[in-house]
């Protein structure tokens, strides 16, 4: 074999220029995407700050006269702001409920092997994939029969259909990352199971709980079908209220867009607070 000859290092024009161009191109592309992403949102928010007359009048790129009248209408009219409260209510109940049942289930899947466990897990995941349209009518009748119709409990329970499987899946992933020796040590140290679970185990998977809670909140907050079908007056979510903006004077665009803009707030807040964990969450602790 011939001995390799050394090629002395040449001083070349810095190839860093090539990567600098690539980096600028990437940044330009992402900036363009974010602008396109924000355009429809900007438009809705801009509209919410105008009066209906201005909206249907001549077209403006930017709103000329700003007004907070639409927001005032929503925040003072009970039928409007109760919509938000109702939505928040069933979302919170659902998140708590989903986590409550998912935690022990995830623990069972993670720590034990039992008859039918794989099939059960698969069956759970298929519920995430169930088309909501299929369940509308029977759920409508079912919740009427048990007297939960038009309460936040109805929607919260209905949403567990797809949130519980997801929560189990996420939590199981995080739990499997905790070595079983911790359970065994706790048992040897004399911890009762509830105390072990709450005091020792939960803190170890708290980011997993956070991620599961985030996704439960997200999917419950955005869902419309069940929320609208299972409620009528008392528990009506904001989505249903938004459909009633047509009046004799025509479409109340201002109020409609103001209502829509306000629905962005909880979502934006939640993302902001969990932003550091979002990446971890989407990796679901297992990817």
């Amino acid at each position: 074999m011939t001995a390799p000859t050394a090629i002395p290092a040449r001083r070349l024009p810095a190839p860093a220029m090539k990567t600098r161009a690539a980096r600028a191109g990437r940044r330009a592309g992402m900036t363009l995407y974010f602008i396109l992403l924000l355009l429809p949102l900007y438009w809705m928010i801009a509209m919410s700050l105008q009066s209906n007359a201005d909206i249907v009048g001549t077209f403006h790129w930017f709103p000329e006269e700003l007004t907070l009248e639409n927001y005032r209408t929503i925040l003072t009219d009970r039928t409007w702001y109760s919509g938000y409260l109702n939505s928040l209510q069933y979302t919170t109940i659902n998140t708590a409920l989903s986590l409550l049942v998912a935690l022990p289930a995830a623990y069972g899947f993670s720590r034990y092997s039992f008859v039918g466990d794989n099939h059960l897990f698969f069956w759970l995941l298929t519920n995430r994939m169930a088309p909501p349209a299929v369940f509308l009518l029977p759920m409508f009748q079912l919740y009427q029969n048990v007297g939960l119709f038009d309460t936040p409990w109805a929607v919260a329970l209905a949403h567990t259909l797809f949130n519980v499987p997801l929560a189990v899946w996420i939590l199981e992933g995080f739990m499997s990352g905790v070595p079983r020796s911790i359970d065994e040590t706790a048992a040897i140290d004399g911890f009762s199971f509830p105390r072990f679970f709450i005091r020792i185990f939960l803190p170890l998977i708290k980011s997993g709980v956070g991620v599961a809670a985030f996704f439960c909140f997200m999917f419950s907050w955005v869902e419309l079908l069940f929320a609208r079908t299972l409620t009528s007056v008392n528990a009506k979510p904001i989505a249903a209220t938004m459909t009633r903006t047509v009046s004799a004077a025509g479409m109340d665009w201002g109020v409609l867009t103001a209502a829509g803009s306000l629905t962005l707030v909880p979502g934006a807040l939640v993302i902001w607070f969990v932003r550091r964990h979002i990446a971890r969450g989407f990796a679901l602790g297992r990817v």
Binding site: M1, I7, A9, R11, A14
Partner: protein, 370 residues
């Protein structure tokens, strides 16, 4: 082959804070096998990345054969690197992995294939040549990583960043043999970073010992063992490390526990003997039942029969001294006398060894094998 020189290198991550490397001047000669040894965080990986071009120094120059390459990226530098965890293109077969660096540099496929086969033979990977690299064992994967480094004909130096960390202990020896074989056949400059002194001392012609961002000593393994230039080298190298005892100076005579041991002659030592420390490796401490000139009284605290070596933990005027002797000394009770082999007794002022000291006594000899 290249001579790699680091001149005046200081490097800070993120431009501020403590320097990872502090004013380093170092030359790696053509074709040598070097180890970079030091504890975690001493800066050895930083130095490696500066040589390979993955980092640009905040201050100072990296030069290959006299040419400043500090701003050049890795692809322009004719170096190859093997990482701690095997880094492979897992969707490719072994020979595809080996062809990859060559194809990127424009070599034709038949030439690249021939070269890949040569290296497979050298590393005894020929049976695995067509296998998907994903399913291989850790040591085979590291061999493939090594192969990717060797396959390029323009490589001047190969850098290793703790490459045996994830390898099973039984396989480590085989990999080290492979590296030695490669070095003998191909003659690249090799720089091997490790925190394991056994690896460093058995692999390298010369070892660079680092601590806290500075080069402490650069010497052959023998010299590092017998004549450490720095207290850190005395402690870090050897298992266990060097024993240190406070010493005091009267004129040019240095004594430990009131026994005269060394004469510093003309060596210029500033006043203040609180900084004077005598150092002796456990391998050069002998234990005797009777007194003699140059021997210090000691009490045995613990004995350990380690098979080939007998190790004693002693107290010498309140200081802990470990001795490694060939066989169990004949002692009545735990009172005895220790003798420090005069040829290996060192004096340190502060952290640095003092040159030109001469022993006051000729010893009885009989140091333990290392």
């Amino acid at each position: 082959m290249a001579e790699i020189a680091l001149r005046g290198i200081t490097h800070r991550y993120d431009g501020e804070g403590d320097a990872a490397l502090n004013n380093i001047d170092l030359v790696w000669e053509n074709g040598g096998a070097y180890a970079l040894l030091g504890p975690s965080g001493c800066g050895k990986t930083t130095m490696l990345n500066l040589i390979s071009g993955l980092l640009t120094p905040t201050q100072g120059i990296v030069a290959f054969d006299g040419v400043d390459v500090s701003g050049l990226p890795p692809t322009e530098r004719n170096i190859a690197q093997v990482f701690q965890f095997p880094v492979l293109y897992e969707s490719m077969t072994v020979e595809q992995n080996l062809r990859f660096p060559l194809r990127n540099r424009g070599m034709s496929k038949p030439d690249a294939q021939r070269r890949a086969e040569e290296i497979c033979d050298l590393l005894e990977l020929s049976e695995l040549r067509r296998r998907r690299s994903k399913g291989l064992s850790a040591d085979a994967k590291q061999l493939v990583s090594l192969g990717r480094a060797l396959v390029r004909t323009d490589v001047a130096a190969i850098l290793f960043d703790e490459p045996l960390t994830v390898i099973d202990p039984q396989k480590k020896w085989g990999l080290r043999q492979a590296l030695k074989r490669v070095h003998q056949e191909l003659g690249h400059t090799l720089v091997y970073v490790t925190h394991d002194q056994t690896e460093a001392l058995t692999f390298a012609d010369e070892v660079v010992v680092m601590n806290a961002g500075e080069v402490v000593q650069k010497a052959s393994p023998d010299v590092l063992f017998e004549r450490p230039a720095h207290r850190f080298v005395g402690t870090f190298i050897g298992s266990p490390g060097m024993n240190f005892l406070p010493a005091s100076r009267d004129g040019s005579i240095v004594s430990v526990a009131d026994i005269d041991l060394l004469d510093v002659g003309d060596a210029a030592i500033p006043d203040g003997d609180s900084e004077l420390v005598a150092g002796i490796r456990p391998e050069f401490v002998t234990v005797h039942p009777a007194s003699a000139p140059g021997r210090l009284p000691a009490t045995v605290k613990r004995r350990q029969d380690l098979g080939t070596i007998y190790q004693l933990e002693l107290s010498v005027s309140g200081e802990r001294v470990i001795a490694k002797v060939a066989e169990r000394p004949a002692l009545a009770g735990s009172e005895c006398f220790v003798e420090f082999d005069p040829g290996h007794l060192m004096l340190f002022h502060g952290d640095r060894a003092v040159d030109g000291v001469t022993p006051r006594h000729r010893g009885a000899g009989g140091a333990a094998p290392r």
